[in-house]
Structures are given as C-alpha cells and as structure tokens.
Amino acid sequence: MMKPIIVEHGTMGRVAYARISPNEDLVRGIEKVCLAQGFRNAFVRGALGSLVDASLTIKSDGSKILVKGPAVEVVSIAGEVRTDGDNAISATLSGVVADTDGTVNGGAFIPGGNTICMTFEVTLEEWLPADHAA
C-alpha cells in the first residue's frame, strides 16, 4: 500500500483566471477549469461571485446547510484541486458566503449543490509537486 504523503514539496506553476457562467456548478466548474488548463493540482488564489443558493456542509456525515438566495454572494474561498492516481480530479472548497441580507455563513461547498447565479471569478495557481513518486 502506498504510504500517505504528509509533507509535499513543490513549486507553483502557471496561473489561470476563469469566469464561470451562470447555472454551472461551482465545484464542478473549478474542476473543469483545471481540465481546460491542464492543471493536475492547484490552489485557489482568489474567488468571488454569486450563487443561486449555497449548499454547504460542516460535518463529515455530509449533512447540509442551505443558504437561500438568489443571490448568495461568495465572499472568499480557501481551497485546492487534486488529481489522484486514477486521474480523478476533485476540488475541495471551503468558504464564506453572504445571503441577500448580508448575513454570513460558512462551510465546505457541496459538489452539485452550488449553482452559479450571475458570474463566478476564480484564480487558480498550479501546484507542481516535486517528490510525488517518493
């Protein structure tokens, strides 16, 4: 069995900016940006935009918090995109959102549950692990 990597050494590569259109899913959309740009691994360096509703989780059981819009503004996101040994790509995104009254909420964005409302701007910086084979 492969030993899990605890510390990964690497460098930053290319930087991509994307505007994702309405009615696309936020998490899947960011994964598609990586596919379009050929990034296997990336970190989110900036993200702002709006969602129809926000579907977040704060628990490992997958239970949902639904923040009703439209629109729910995304204030900021911390996150990464990883490609595994089977070439499956997955974005893990955690962030702060504000509803139509400005009330804030936060959690992990659930794939398939966060439809973009007007636009979503995201900046991704490619992560190039140096010792992946170790």
Partner: protein
C-alpha cells in the same frame, strides 16, 4: 419512484433574460504569476489605494486577497432579485457600514467598460454596530483607516480582465481577454 428520491434532487438554477453563451467557462492562463504585496495607505479609498501603486509597477489586471484591517468608512451592497426583472438579480442600494473591520476579502482588478481601472471586491466585515456581514464592497467609497492594510496580489501576464456586456445575464462583468 427513484426520480423523486432525495439523492436525485438537483440544485435550483435561474432562467436568465438573454441568449446563452455555449462557452460556459472563459479562461486564460499565464505561464508564471507575478506576485506583489501592496500596503493600502491610510485615508485613501480602497480603489485608489490598490489601483495607483499597482499601475506604477505596470499591473492592471490581477487577483488580490485583502488581509484584515480597519476602514474608517465602508459601504457595501447585497444582491437581491431585480424588481425590474432586467436581470435575475440587481445590487441593492449602498448600505453604510461606517467604521468597520474588514475580516478578509477578495478583489479583482481589471478595466471597466469605459476603459478605467475597476476593482470588484467581496468581503466579510464587522460593521460599526458590531454586526458581521458580507457582500459587495464599494471600493470608491470605502476609506482605509489610520493603519495600513496588506494586500497579496497575483498579477496576470498575456491576458487582461475587461468588464464587458454579457448578453445572457444582461449585465456588464469581468471577462478574461488575451492581450494584443
């Protein structure tokens, strides 16, 4: 019936007023990113404190993270449904937050439809009344407090951000375009 089971639920979407663009993701990349640290100067607007120093180093398109700090005055707005139905949502009238602590936020720098520098900023703020809120910050009206505030800038090369009319949503918004 399986179709109605909870696992088959789909997230709500919107019917936008205009013709849709078959290209759902507009993206551009630079081979390397430029990184800058900008210190927002006291008394200046968020817009000027970001735009002017970056222009001096030749940066006109960038993605930035505004680290926490005190603003002597802050205005923001939220995004409820458009009562005029011209778009699915419309920014509310400005809400005066007063002297506020900006917890953190993201700001994108590009060029407006009129070819002026434009900053699009979303942030979480603790308002003067103590309530923590989030929304779209109005950079021209928001004034840096007595202490400077750090901003991490990731700049783009080979493409730029331009505010252009988007027929689908019927509003102008930032889109990446390759530099000529």
């Amino acid at each position: 019936m399986l179709r109605n089971s909870q696992s088959d639920e789909r997230a709500r979407a919107m019917a936008h007023p205009g013709r849709f663009n078959p290209i759902r993701i507009q993206s551009e990349h630079s081979d390397t990113a430029g990184h800058f640290r900008v210190v927002l100067q006291p008394g200046k607007s968020l817009h000027d404190a970001l735009v002017h120093p970056l222009r001096q180093v030749g940066v006109t398109s960038a993605s930035t993270t505004v680290l926490g700090g005190v603003f002597s005055y802050l205005e923001y707005c939220v995004a409820p449904p458009d009562p005029r139905k011209e778009a699915v949502i419309r920014y509310s009238d400005p809400i005066i937050a007063g002297a506020s602590y900006l917890v953190f936020g993201n700001a994108t720098l590009g060029r407006s439809s009129e070819d002026n520098p434009m900053v699009h900023c979303h942030a979480a703020v603790r308002r003067e009344d103590g309530v923590v809120m989030g929304g779209h910050i109005i950079p021209e009206k928001t004034i840096v407090g007595t202490d400077p505030i750090s901003v991490l800038v990731t700049s783009f090369e080979g493409f730029e951000l331009r505010q252009m009319y988007d027929p689908e949503t019927n509003i102008p918004l930032f889109q990446p375009v390759a530099s000529i």
